[in-house]
């Protein structure tokens, strides 16, 4: 069994021809597509042999014709199955980053430049994960392959086997491809019950709101001559009548809360991966709370900011810590 596996491995390496990973798009040229009968195909051939013997014994001319027609069908099936895979082009599609422990979802784009649909193309990974797609004529179809993301950092797409037994199931055509694709795996965030990050530097208290802001309505106060006319509460003035004093609307900016999430604040004894897990959790929590945060790692830091883009920048930094 070991020898068989080794031989298969050698065959695949020879069959790929290109040193993986291959640049996009990967085109499955005819030299890369292999064809062999399936078990059903062998059964079909055996049936034909029996039919041929029957036709010979009974001198059934139409029996010969039937056997030969079905034999021709078998040959044609080879062509159709081969054609279903040959010249299919394979391009990497989108890969969203995932957290370690989840499944990385690789999207492969299969492009069919031919005027006939390619049906039932199966994509399989070494781990046994598979998906079946139909690729319409002059069009593309996306195949999604899930690979368990075990460790943070870059996860490359393993070798993909594309195979098909369409249209009759008698013949199997297959090809190997290793498209240049990788998925960014963020560190796995540690459990939710973690203490909040110790904050220091530039964190403003809740009370310290800037009353001269312009964003949120805060209160009404007596009108002063210097107040801009558009801050006058005209509706109130109208309700209260002409004699009432004018009122001015007061606005405040939301308090900008900034935290620093730093490598150093975690115990020195904590292993690297665990530290990264903690930091990841903190980054996620800070984002969920709508805070502005900065990230400080040994040798690099990201200035405080908020939002999706910053979140992903931080997670990326954590994922690739010590790996680039």
């Amino acid at each position: 069994m070991r020898i068989a596996a080794a031989l298969q491995d050698r065959f695949i390496r020879w069959a790929l021809r290109v040193r993986p990973p291959e640049p996009a798009p990967v085109i499955l040229t005819q030299r890369r597509v292999y064809v062999l009968p399936t078990r059903a195909g062998i059964g079909y051939a055996a049936s034909l042999l029996v039919m041929l013997l029957g036709a010979m014994n009974y001198n059934l001319s139409l029996g010969y014709a039937l056997t030969f027609l079905l034999a021709g069908l078998g040959v044609i099936a080879i062509l159709h199955t081969f054609r279903n895979l040959a010249h299919l082009s394979l391009a990497p599609g989108r890969v969203e980053p995932v957290f370690a422990g989840d499944s990385a979802r690789f999207t492969l784009l299969l492009h069919n430049a031919r005027a006939d649909e390619r049906r039932q193309v199966q994509l399989r990974l070494a781990g046994g994960m598979s998906g079946i797609v139909d690729v319409p004529a002059h069009s593309s179809a996306a195949a999604r392959l899930a690979v368990p993301a075990l460790a943070r950092g870059w996860l490359a797409l393993p070798r993909v086997t594309l195979d098909t037994v369409w249209p009759l199931g008698l013949i199997r055509a297959w090809a190997y491809a290793v498209p240049d694709m990788r998925c960014l795996v963020y560190p796995r965030p540690t459990g939710t019950a973690v203490p909040p990050p110790p904050t220091f530097g530039g964190r403003a208290g809740n009370a310290a709101r800037n009353p001269q802001g312009s964003e949120d309505f805060l209160a009404l106060r007596g009108h002063q001559l210097a107040d801009p006319p558009r801050h006058v509460a005209w509706k109130t003035a109208a309700r209260l009548g002409a004699d009432a004093p004018l009122m001015t609307k007061q606005y405040a900016d939301p308090a900008a809360q900034t935290v620093w999430l730093a490598w150093d604040v975690l115990p020195t004894a904590m292993p690297v991966e665990e530290r990264l897990s903690w930091l990841t959790r903190w980054v996620l929590d800070a984002h969920a709370a709508g805070l502005s945060w900065g990230l400080r790692l040994p040798g690099s830091q990201l200035a405080p900011a908020g939002g999706e883009a910053h979140l992903h920048a931080c997670l990326r930094r954590l994922a690739l810590h010590g790996k680039e």
């Binding site: 001198n59 001319s61 039937l66 027609l69 062509l79």
Partner: protein, 651 residues
């Protein structure tokens, strides 16, 4: 790398399997016992109901029970489980039962293979063009079902289209293999005894009514092909196709003598010969037919002492042989005394009136010839009528025919004549066979049908040997000069093809016959000899299996190559203007300025203009023109202009 566990089949796939099974079973229903057809259809309907209501399949125990019960039924019907008919019946039973336990793709494949086997089984019973057409439809359906097993989501129309396309592409291979695959003459092992049980033809006995039964059938007995020249066909009154010779009479039935046939002629042929080829339909009896009298034995045949041609084995498949006949020759001058004695034997106490008449001739007349003349004259003047439906006759059948009813069919005439001659002391015997036939103007084949069956007499004269006398021709000349329909009274129930009035219908039928004959000659009858003959004609001088296989491999390879080229061709949607533009791109590509796939017409033109400044104006105009044709509206005049300008553009 096959998966260890086969996939479960879907409801749609089950429908396909049922359709395939039905299309394979239905054409077989006339050929299997009625109860089996009913059982099979019920089982399929039951499976369809389970599929429809989405219910579970029956337990295995039930299926085993049904299998045993069905097999027992087949055993009871045929008394055996081996042989052709019980075999087909068992296959039908299995195909009806298998869908009831079809859960996985592998079971589905078993159903498909069974269907293909049953298509083959259909050819045991018929190999006509109609059967072939019907079976082709079945094959398309079964192949579509096979496709559905590989592609559960495909639409039925797509599956049928795909299966038709693939079968169409398989046809060249089929033709090549059919023509060139080295044929062997079966059977490879013993055929079961029940094969070919339902065939009609002449038998080796003749009683009143036995040949008139045959005259109701317009099935073809055999076809003959004479030489291409008109004069090669002998005149109608010489077209006596000799079959079983009957020389023993028990008062009612004439039977043939059981004597050992020998592999050589029983006489020395003489006189001019006519060459022709006979394609004999299977009739499950050993006799071969040839014009009187054959000048040589066809391969694998024997001849009896009474000049009857026999095949070594019963003719159970269409048989083709060439013969040369000497229509005007004398045989049997030196006939042995034993034979002559047997040709005089009569049972006592039958037909006293005829015996008396014959004795009268014998006593009055001196020579055998004179007796024969008297008998002939008697038949001419007795007012005998020809009828397809003669009255039933009693114990003295010859007497009743000659003196009372005076109405009969050829077996009455021949039987009575021979009886009379024997009673008068002349050795005579009844010869059965076919008389006449009809030339098909569309392929020149001479067609002899069952209604051409005939019986005549042969009398031995000292200086003329065995001489043919046709008593029917004496009384009813039109039977010989025209055919059956002309001889019988109007309103008789004559087979369609024998009637002379339905011209159009006859012509259509003749046309169809010609096609069917071609089919029989070249498709059904394509055996080792025909293969050798055909390949000879194609220029292969000594076709042996090695040569055939090599040719087959080369030609099949060529076909495969062509189909591969088709398979790998990338059909792109291009319009006329775009083709011209792409051509320009390819041409300039050879000069180091290829068009990038993403490059728009203006951008490409700008690049060309930069490289060839002197052609800048022209290429800009061309690209503007192309843009208008491709992305504006396609004006044929402008398209021609684009073509000429692109052709002329040689920077």
């Amino acid at each position: 790398m096959a998966k260890s566990k086969s996939q479960a089949i879907t409801a749609m796939q089950t429908w396909w399997l049922l359709a395939a099974a039905l299309s394979a079973l239905l054409p077989l229903t006339p050929h299997v016992p009625l109860w089996l057809s009913a059982l099979a259809l019920t089982l399929l309907a039951g499976r369809a109901l389970l599929n429809w209501t989405n219910r579970r399949l029956p337990a295995r125990g039930w299926l085993i029970l049904l299998t045993f019960a069905g097999s027992a039924g087949v055993l009871a019907q045929f008394k055996t489980l081996f042989g052709q008919n019980p075999g087909v019946a068992l296959l039908v039973l299995f195909l009806a039962l298998k869908p009831l336990e079809a859960r996985t793709r592998r079971d589905g494949l078993a159903v498909i293979f069974l269907c293909y086997f049953l298509v083959l089984a259909q050819f045991f019973f018929a190999q006509s063009m109609a059967t072939a057409g019907l079976m082709l439809a079945t094959i398309v359906a079964v192949t579509a079902a096979l496709g559905s097993l590989a592609d559960a989501r495909a639409r039925p129309a797509d599956l049928l289209r795909r299966s038709s396309l693939m079968l169409l592409q398989a046809v060249p291979f089929m033709l090549l293999l059919f023509v060139l695959f080295p044929r062997v003459q079966g059977p490879l092992w013993g055929l079961p005894r029940d094969a070919f049980s339902a065939l009609t033809g002449l038998s080796d006995s003749m009683a009143p009514g036995s040949i008139s039964n045959l005259s109701q059938s317009d099935a073809i007995a055999f076809r003959a092909k004479f030489g291409a020249k008109v004069g090669d066909t002998p005149p109608r009154d010489q077209l006596y196709w000799r079959g079983p010779v009957l020389s023993e009479f028990d008062g009612r039935t004439w039977t043939s003598e059981r004597r050992l046939p020998l592999p050589r002629l029983a006489y020395a042929p003489q006189g001019p010969a006519i060459d022709y080829e006979v394609t004999l339909e299977a009739h499950a009896k050993p006799w071969l037919f040839a014009l009187e009298l054959p000048g040589q034995l066809p391969p694998d045949s024997l001849m009896t002492g009474d000049y009857q041609l026999l095949a070594k084995t019963p003719v159970t498949a269409r048989l083709r042989y060439t013969v040369a006949s000497h229509t005007a020759m004398t045989a049997g001058l030196d006939e042995s005394a034993g034979v002559l004695r047997r040709a005089l034997a009569l049972p006592g106490d039958f037909n006293p009136r005829t015996s008396e008449l014959a004795n009268g001739w014998r006593e009055k007349l001196k020579t055998d010839e004179a007796v024969l003349d008297a008998a002939t004259r008697f038949f001419l003047t007795q007012g005998l009528r020809y009828s397809l439906t003669p009255p039933l006759l009693g114990q003295h059948s010859v007497d009743e025919f000659l003196f009372d009813s005076r109405e009969g069919f050829c077996e009455h005439f021949a039987g009575a004549f021979v009886f009379a001659l024997r009673a008068a002391g002349l050795p005579a015997r009844v010869v059965t066979g076919y008389q006449g036939g009809e030339i098909n103007p569309f392929d020149g084949y001479f067609t002899v049908r069952q209604y051409d069956a005939h019986a005549w007499a042969e009398v031995w004269l000292k200086d003329r040997g065995w001489t043919r006398i046709d008593p029917t021709a004496l009384s009813v000349p039109s039977r010989i000069s025209q055919n059956l329909a002309a001889a019988v009274p109007a309103g008789s129930n004559v087979p369609l093809m024998a009637r002379l009035d339905l011209t159009l219908l006859r012509e259509l039928r003749l046309r169809f016959d010609a096609v069917a004959n071609t089919w029989n000659q070249w498709v059904i009858g394509y055996n080792p000899e025909r293969q050798r003959e055909f390949l000879n004609r194609l220029g292969m001088r000594t076709p042996d299996w090695r040569q055939m296989t090599a040719t087959l491999a080369v030609l099949a390879g060529l076909v495969l190559l062509g189909l591969t080229a088709w398979a790998l061709r990338q059909r792109r949607r291009t319009d006329a203007a775009q083709r011209v533009w792409l051509k320009l791109g390819r041409r300039l590509g050879r000069r180091g300025l290829p068009r990038a796939s993403w490059e728009g017409p203006l951008a490409y033109a700008a690049r060309i203009a930069a490289r060839f400044p002197e052609s800048a104006t022209e290429i800009r105009a061309i690209s503007a023109l192309y843009g208008r044709l491709r992305y504006g509206s396609l004006d044929p005049v402008l398209l021609d202009e684009l073509k000429t300008r692109v052709t002329r553009f040689q920077p």
